[in-house]
């Protein structure tokens, strides 16, 4: 099945599994080819692709990447991936294991460093915040807010009655809120 640029954009924003699968199938090959052609490994390609998809998702939520019917999200993901890979090649760690000349890479339509820097900072912050929760809380919040499962279904899966689960979810969100207020005292 094909998806229009708008459908891809909205699907990525809402975490639609079918759209994510589509973006994966249609874009990973291109990113992989680029990374492998420029001294990267399979693992590098996978990491760069996933990081780029996450950064694109973040920029959709930040409003830094807005829907442009002329530019599909897949093309944006590829621009991010190229920028990130170039950045990785420039890093000290990588230059010690690679003989590729960064200047020799043909980088067009690159993304602005601010655009990516903010997305990466936001993603790192969200990871730190969510990582402060225990496993059970993480599981409940992911099932409810991302997978959009009902409290009854989550209760059945985890072996809790829905009233208890509602209390647990509230407590998990309050822990997350407390951590966020600690990390951003100015707010």
């Amino acid at each position: 099945m094909e998806y229009s640029a708008t459908e891809q954009y909205q699907g990525l924003q809402s975490g639609d599994t079918r759209v994510l699968d589509y973006l994966y199938r249609t874009n990973f090959k291109t990113v992989r080819k680029y990374v492998l052609a420029n001294k990267g490994s399979e693992d590098d390609a996978r990491d760069i692709f996933q990081e780029s998809l996450m950064a694109t998702w973040m920029n959709i939520h930040n409003g830094k990447y807005q829907l442009d019917p002329a530019s599909e999200p897949g093309a944006y993901v590829f621009r991010v991936a190229k920028y990130k890979w170039l950045d990785r090649l420039k890093s000290k760690h990588f230059s010690s294991r690679s003989s590729v000349s960064v200047d020799s890479l043909h980088v067009v339509d690159s993304i602005s460093s601010d655009e990516l820097h903010d997305a990466e900072q936001n993603l790192a912050y969200l990871s730190e915040l969510f990582g402060s929760l225990g496993d059970k809380c993480q599981h409940i919040l992911r099932l409810f807010y991302y997978d959009k499962m009902s409290m009854d279904d989550i209760g059945k899966q985890l072996g809790h009655d829905s009233e208890s689960l509602r209390t647990m979810k509230y407590r998990c969100m309050m822990s997350l809120r407390k951590k966020h207020l600690e990390l951003t005292p100015a707010q």
């Binding site: 059970k136 993480q138 009233e163 969100m173 809120r177």
Partner: protein, 242 residues
């Protein structure tokens, strides 16, 4: 809203319903009007959106990992390579199974064990708040936190069998079997406890995993609990294996 420090379950539920768009159009208009007057409320909505994003980011990350694992877009590798890998894996599995095969007790324990899910916790539990507060920790598998709270409550009522039972169960779930055994035995000393049958069952499981077969046989001979059949089954299987 007055305080940025506390958000009640009711306030939280309203904000969540607004952000997730599960409230009626009328309530939504009312909520938006309230937000325009109350800067704390709009700040809380913004804060909720950040927390929601943190949960969604974790979900997306997991989904991308699953997609990548499921992706068939793997590089082509020769059959010879796969045969070599398969042979190596078969050897590794055989060696691992031989070295780590579970003993009879371990197998029996695994076949019977399940975590006591705890008591239902109402959202607005004002009666016995401290007890239910710790029950949420128990259900969230934060056993250190619930033990700390329940042990404090136990100091005020040393013979409370509900506390004794759940303290023992928290130790059981932490695999601290000697402490669990001690707690379940305390429950059994109270002859009219509602937790008697369950305490006896978990005591048997604790004995099983610590190799106390004689104690299991003793219970099996005298029990009248709802777990009688399972307890005698464990005793008989242990006898067969001796």
């Amino acid at each position: 809203m007055n305080s940025a420090e506390h958000l009640s379950p009711e306030e939280f539920a309203r904000i969540e319903a607004y952000v997730l768009r599960t409230m009626s159009a009328e309530s939504r208009d009312q909520f938006q009007a309230e937000m325009s007057r109350d800067s704390h409320l709009s700040a809380e909505v913004e804060l909720f959106q950040t927390l929601l994003l943190a949960s969604k980011k974790a979900g997306l990350e997991r989904q991308l990992n699953e997609l990548h694992s499921a992706s068939s877009d793997k590089p082509v590798i020769s059959m010879k390579f796969w045969i070599g890998i398969a042979a190596g894996l078969a050897l590794l599995i055989a060696a691992t199974f031989y070295l780590t095969r579970p003993g009879a007790e371990e197998q029996l324990f695994a076949a019977h064990v399940s975590v006591d899910p705890g008591l239902p916790v109402p959202m607005s539990a004002t009666i016995e708040y401290d007890f239910y507060d710790a029950m949420v920790d128990y259900k969230s598998e934060d056993y250190d936190a619930c033990l700390r709270k329940w042990n404090q409550l136990l100091q005020l009522d040393l013979t409370n069998d509900t506390l004794q039972y759940y303290i023992a169960s928290a130790h059981f779930n932490k695999k601290e079997y000697p402490a669990a055994i001690e707690g379940y035995q305390s429950v059994l000393r109270s002859s009219d406890s509602d937790f008697r049958d369950r305490a006896e069952w978990y005591l048997v499981l604790s004995y099983l995993t610590t190799g106390k077969h004689d104690a299991i046989a003793e219970i099996a001979d005298s029990t009248h609990s709802e777990y009688r059949e399972r307890i005698t089954q464990i005793r008989d299987q242990l006898k067969k294996q001796e």
